[in-house]
Amino acid sequence: MRDRLLRALERACGVDDWRLRHVTLSSTQYYLARREPENRRSARSERLELEVYNDHPAAAGGAMSRGSASVTLLPGEEAAADERVGQAVFMASLADNPPFGLPGPAVYPQVLTADRMLEIDPAGVARELAEQLAAAVDREPGVSLASAEFFVDREEVTFENSRGAHGQAAFTSLLVDLVLLARDDEGHETESHVEVRRRALEEVDLPGLVHRQAQFARDGLRAGEPGTGRFPVLITDDALRQVFGTETFSPLALRSGARFKFQGLTPWEIGASVYDGAEPTGDPLTVYANAVLPWGLASAPFDDDGVPATRLLIIEHGVLRHFWAPQRYAEYLKLPPTGAFGNLEVLPGSMAVADMWQGLGPLYHIVAFSSMMPDPVTGNFVGEIRLGYERRGNELRPVKGGSVSGNLFTDLAAARFSRETVMLGDYLGPQAVRFRELTVSGK
């Protein structure tokens, strides 16, 4: 299929550059409803993703422009290679954008992205995890299994472009979606739900995860509503990743991206504060865009264009140092290309987690939000508390319901970061972040 497509690219008129990704994916999936199997399945797919670049005079003004368009070739479509390339050229010829290039050959870093343990016997891994899960749940009083899903995936990507860049990478991932139920003597029930995705088997501590989620489920049974007002708020566990964002949606990543800058959507400037006017009074915020983090979900030796992966300082002590920039936007803004953002790495602070609530009045410690997606444009956020704790000295009261709201960029100016760190798939950083004061809406 690849050879047919390359020949079609050679023959076609209007192909000024191209890039090609050959992607194969296999997925082994195992589902439990309560303790019984609900579904057992496997899936395989393969595709060629082609991006074609066409240079032409702009419709308005006639300046030389570049357009690009992607098409996908699926198994069995080899005979349609010429037609598909023609469609891509036509679409690319319609869009008038400032010219930009593609990266040439490069030496790509070695990055840990594929775990042999998941590659050898994915179905066996899924079965073994299911057995581990059952044993771990048996050890937890007052808790039962509602459902579990295990996805063991492997993806292989071969990349090449018209400038001679060429690379190959394999990725594995293990997804565990787990729901536990806790029940009290009066028949009240609550659930705790978590989804964990990691690149390597050793990155998933299933017994530890079950123990933590079982405790959350039991605490949910006696949780009350939070108070209303402005309070210090400590964020840990899944709530932390929700606030900082995921591999595809991180406000810090979007705001520091050359594309956002090019489109006029970020007010950030190199050498200036990232706190949107707030005075820094907390631990200094230092952030790296890390595309080479071992087992990082957003790690890869090269990005979609073929720019080598790197670990780039983005924010240092609350000041923007670099915009991360794919090839196109690097050229537009005359910056060095840095490739994709990768994983979010935040440097730790100096406080121990256990000290973060000491000496404070009521503090809300949130371990899970129902949903939390800070607006990357404004930084505003609001999220319902799925589970948290009200801490008053040594008193600890579980809470749920109500909401926590604030502004990520201004509130980070007064945040403290724990010295202990945690790896959450696409986040490496402090295990706990304490915001000095956020708005809590409760009873």
Partner: protein, 464 residues
């Protein structure tokens, strides 16, 4: 007009699927095949860039067999008959047969079911769709000096499916269209955004907005630069149809997906036949709503689309099923067995979920609020089927004083509460109805196109 054509790659295998099913049923008590072909086009224009490109595209099939106790499946990213035959053969070998009841295949049907469209997207070129976006971009980019970027986007997804089991051979083609005008405004210090969306199943007739709507969008985007944060507390509220819809979807829709009943994850399971809301509240899930974004003619398990009344006058009367949960619970199937793609399993999922309209004119509904907030445009929401908590985020809240909107805005506004309390607090239901399209996940994955909506509602809830 109707879009009737099945893509050639599906037309070529449509008639051959029943024999593959028959071969698998030589071992399995029940078997089925779903073959899908999806293609997409994405067009965008903003102040700095333009893009015309194919969107995510896939072709593949999933072979399903019931082994007496649960479903076993093989999915392949190919529509070649030999690949399907191999998957079927392999699955037959893998079956772990057990005694147990088998699903009913349904009454015999062999037909192609199409969705209507006024302007078939296939009758217009990519250039036409780019020109459409350019025209809207030209119309909005200069509407206010605060606008720093105007982004117009158009996307179409052509979704074709063939389902076969022992008695059924069904096919359908659906176009899902989304069109959005987004404005980014700045006062030199901060940046805000607002948007206008159109979506549905149908054709290019969906992608349009009036000059009045574009001017109103620009005014509201600029006004949002002055928006503050709401003081936390309980308020008298008026929801617009967008907020009503997400409340319907998150508050009660997810909680009545009956795969959650099988897993013990749904509080609603204890409330069948019981009151959970005000007698003014009627809630439906209906994949047959003409032109709605979440519409289809049959679900991914071959059940013909039909409306389901979930709440009738505040009483929970029926949940939404997939094949597995209907069989396990011994309840009638509804047409809600849906997959993210051929490579993912089916779950019980919503389609178009909405509160039914009432009788109160919208002006009267707002006019009856002495002091409260008018909430518009939902930006996100999340379900809690076991705890019956709910979170909905509205992009805009506007103060109401003495029955009048004051123009004082808040953004964003979080709405939280306990589902029965919120539903019981509904004190008036508007006589309007509108649905918005979106993408719905099960937890944090398994995305499917849906719509949600309803009339304006007057109620009480906690804001933060």
């Amino acid at each position: 007009m109707s879009i009737r054509v099945l893509p050639p790659e599906l037309e070529a295998i449509r008639g051959r699927l029943p024999e593959l099913v028959a071969g698998l049923e030589a071992r399995a008590p029940y078997a089925a095949i779903l073959a899908t072909s999806t293609s997409a086009l994405q067009v965008s224009v903003n102040n700095r860039e333009q893009q015309v490109s194919e969107g995510p595209r896939s072709q593949g099939a999933v072979v399903t067999a019931w082994n007496g106790a649960y479903l076993q499946e093989r999915a392949v990213g190919s529509l070649a008959l030999d690949a399907l035959a191999t998957a079927t053969h392999t699955l037959a070998q893998e079956l772990e047969l057990q005694p147990g009841p088998a699903p009913e295949p349904g009454a015999p049907r062999d037909e192609h079911l199409a969705m209507p469209a006024q302007v078939d997207p296939a009758s217009r070129t990519a250039r036409d769709k780019l020109d459409l976006c350019r025209r809207y971009h030209q119309a909005v980019r200069g509407l206010d000096p605060h606008i720093v970027n105007a982004a117009i986007s158009y996307s179409e997804v052509a979704e074709a499916k063939v389902f076969a089991n022992r008695t059924r051979l069904l096919s359908q083609t659906v176009y899902r269209i989304r069109f959005q005008v987004a404005l980014f405004v700045s006062d030199g210090q901060k940046v805000q955004r607002d948007w206008l969306s159109r979506d549905g199943t149908g054709g290019l007739e969906i992608a349009q907005a009036s000059d009045e709507e574009l001017h109103a969008l620009a005014e509201e985007a600029v006004a949002l630069l002055r928006a503050g944060r709401i003081e936390p507390g309980f308020y008298d509220l008026v929801f617009d149809p967008s907020v009503s819809g997400v409340m319907a979807h998150e508050a009660f829709g997810h909680g009545v997906e009956t795969d959650m009943f099988v897993k013990g994850r749904a509080k609603a399971a204890e409330y069948l036949g019981k009151r959970v809301g005000s007698p003014l509240v009627n809630l439906l899930d209906d994949p047959t709503v003409p032109g709605a974004y979440g519409s289809y003619r049959f679900d991914d398990e071959g059940q013909i689309a039909a409306p389901t009344t979930i709440l009738r006058e505040g009483v929970f009367v029926q949940g939404l099923t997939d094949l597995f949960s209907a069989l396990k619970l011994g309840i009638p199937r509804t047409a809600n067995g849906r997959r993210q793609g051929y490579d993912r399993k089916a779950y019980a999922r919503m389609s178009n979920t909405f509160f039914a309209p009432g009788t109160t004119p919208v002006d009267e509904l707002i006019g009856s609020v002495e002091r409260g907030v008018y909430l518009r445009k939902t930006s996100s929401g999340m379900e809690d089927p076991k705890g019956w908590g709910v979170q909905v985020e509205a992009h805009i809240g506007e103060e109401i004083v003495n029955g009048r909107r004051t123009g004082r805005l808040f953004s964003p506004v979080g709405i939280t509460g306990y589902v029965p309390d919120i539903l019981a607090s509904v004190s008036a239901v508007g006589n309007d109805l509108a649905l918005d399209g979106g993408t719905c996940g099960k937890g944090w994955k398994e995305w499917v196109p849906v719509a949600s909506g309803g009339p304006h509602l007057r109620l009480k809830a906690r804001l933060g």
